[in-house]
Subunit: 336 residues, 3 copies
């Protein structure tokens, strides 16, 4: 169950103004169209003002210039979307792992567990692991020997950290994520592939989120690095010795090959591939399912691929792609 | 070990006719080329009639019009492929989790476990979880607080359901799948990305299959929804607030971004990406690794991409792609 | 902690010559730029000879022709990269699972555990499982009934093998990998999709590595097969009845659809898709994110896709892709 808070309490917490009944109880958040009575809604884009008349929400977060359009209870703030984002934390009723160590968890020798650490059932914690204040380890998560996890970080159920991984503060690592598996390194010899043991580790900054099923490989000699504030969605693959700069966001199923450096404040869309040994500048945006095959030294948006079309129409054009060089050569001749 | 059944028993079970020795014992299924004596085979496509003469199978499922071509034992039915599909269930020797609760499993307070529930070793079941009749929870699976799982549903080893997920009847959720992790929602603020806590859940219908390593995120405010009869392959990513219509099938490594609605009876091939906030009509087919960037209002097949070619040849054409607008402009001038 | 070995010991182990102080203690490996005093480095490409003057490494592996350029301690060998690769094993300080069976592991009836088997905490081993000498099962891994695992193979934490899987010797299967989940097989009937139970298994050869989050499905009737020496990176999808030939390497997030046969010594780059029922010859190389839609009968390199460009520029060209057939037709007319 979400907590119930009054309009005035929420306004005070946000440091925002309100108009209407400050005692109005609010027990959840909803969009203008789907909010129920007793819930708080928000209008982040004026396009949605058409829904103001019919919303059943008991209060709405809005900019002051819209206040005259809505007679009901309202929270007034310059940035309603940010206010909504902040309030999601207040209404989050996610059940936390109880503080303390579940009796079925296995804790190795030499660990340091700070105050307020929570360890769920059947979690396995290796030897010499350091868990800072308030760290939460979900059911069945596996933390390898020698890992250091910073204060307030949450490792969800069944996530895996191999040995010697360092994670900063206030991170979230979701279920199915695997941090620190071997990078894909083999030397081709006369007898086939020879494994290059991966001797580096993974260093993750603070305020990083890592999605479900995402894999971040340990480095070959040096470490793989994820800087502060990086947000990584589900099923992303980060290869060995990659470095991701501060506040970069990477959407689902993107993949970054070995030794590539991605700058700060980049946004890498879903399904993007970035080949190995590249340098991507700060502020680069790559659109969905594009393949980056060379370094990008300037900020801006980049793309590859072809537009979607009905298959029959697409096929006629795709066949011509195989003649493109020939067509261009013929055109050049004609045009001379 | 698969069970042994006679030709007559299988015919009765399928409500099909047979010709030959009704007492012939059959202990498994195989293709015409690989079936061993004692096994049952099938011919679903007349292209394979050339193998009828040499098959070692002890009986063959076929349409009545082929019966004259094969002197051996046969099951006669209008749809041999469907008959084969139905019989796979009879010959499946998958070891089930024993009924009851393994002593190493951890069950939270307030759970309701119906008759015939099976819970494997080291599974963790949260508080207030409802497991209907015949639900099977594999070894080490993790079911969060407040989940409801319908009758006959099987959750494989090490699969993870976060809190408050609803799953219908007769579903299969494979190992490594993660249902209900946080959607990828952040608000960009002056201080970097601010997490939007994901307050919705995931609602999965009946007869749904979810493949290994697939992730289905919980909604931001409303729920992510998977309708009855949907089949999802491995390593598919379903983002927050997506809705998938009845009987739609989604192949491996496809990804569907946030708030997109996919209709009924669609087939989404492997590696397809669908960007967020789109509407895809019923009966849409998207071919492998295509990227859908706009809503599709009509049924039919859609594609993007370019054909495979030897790299040297491909490169010559790909370079010309970067001149395509210029080439088209020159052609237009010449043609005027 | 990595072990400390002397230059002379390492030279003897590699069967290589050395020059300089044979007693020089070496406790790790590093690149020429990042190695610390006490570490060993290597020069595999003459491009890096510029770093020889400034490296802080205490010894360097190099070819004899470079020896005159470097006055310090050195190991001389015809193939420094292979020597480095071999030495990574000597310096790998990965903590092994202790020999024996952790008291929290669950072992089913009828298992055969050879000498030197290690089973970590909360691993679950089914019935009739055979683990050969030196097999290592990580924390919380799940091994299904009837699996056979060859000598020296390591299954990392939380990896899952379904029932009846066969794995050869000296393999590594990383965390989050799922071997033997059901192939994606359904028959379309009047009532929707009918599950085809997957009665085959997975057979994995020796010296195979399978990355984190990779899924290898069990076969429908026959088995899915991975030959000796195959190396598979993270988040790769291998569908049912696929066969992968010896020493083929498959990079991250590639996907191979059902019943496709890939030859020996192929390299499949990251994000590549190969559709079902194809035959790929030995010695084929497919470049990143290409889609293979037809069989490839000759060795060589293959590609699809378009080059990356700034989005604005890309969009102008991509629009023209939809006119390609029309443009080609107009050009042909003009050119007649």
């Amino acid at each position: 169950m979400s907590p119930t808070l009054t309009l005035a309490e929420l306004a005070a917490w946000l440091d925002a103004d309100f108009e209407g009944d400050g005692d109005c109880p609010l027990s959840g958040l909803g969009t203008l169209q789907s909010a129920l009575p007793g819930q708080l809604s928000f209008i982040a884009n004026p396009v949605y003002r058409k829904y103001l008349a019919s919303t059943r929400a008991s209060a709405v977060i809005m900019t002051p210039d819209l206040a005259a359009e809505y007679p009901g209870n309202k929270l007034l703030t310059a940035n309603p979307y940010e206010a909504y984002a902040r309030l999601t934390e207040r209404f989050d009723d996610r059940p936390a792992v109880p503080t303390g160590c579940h009796p079925t968890a296995v804790i190795g020798d030499g660990c340091q567990l700070a105050e307020g650490v929570s360890i769920g059932p059947q979690a396995t914690i290796g030897r010499q692991v350091v868990l800072a204040e308030g760290v939460e380890i979900g059911a069945g998560a596996s933390i390898g020997d020698g890992c250091h996890i910073g204060a307030g970080t949450r490792i969800a159920a069944r996530a895996v950290l191999y040995h010697d991984i360092r994670v900063g503060e206030r991170c979230v690592i979701h279920s199915g994520a695997v941090i620190g598996a071997d990078g894909f390194g083999f030397a081709l010899t006369a007898d086939g592939w020879l494994k290059i043991h991966q001797l580096g580790s993974v260093v993750i900054g603070s305020d990083v989120e890592i999605g479900a099923g995402t894999t971040v490989d340990r480095g070959a000699l040096d470490d793989t690095r994820i800087a502060d504030g990086v947000k990584i969605d589900n099923q992303v693959q980060i290869a060995h010795n990659v470095s991701i700069g501060r506040n970069t966001a990477i959407a689902g199923q993107a993949g970054i090959a070995g030794s590539t450096t991605v700058g700060e404040n980049c946004t890498i869309a879903g399904g993007v591939g970035i080949v190995g040994h590249l340098t991507i500048a700060d502020g680069v945006h790559v659109t969905a399912m594009s393949l980056v095959t060379h370094s990008l030294h300037k900020p801006g948006s980049y793309s590859s691929g072809t537009p979607l079309a009905p298959t029959r129409e697409w096929r006629r054009n795709a066949v011509r792609f195989k003649q493109l060089n020939e067509l261009a050569t013929r055109l050049k001749k004609l045009d001379e």
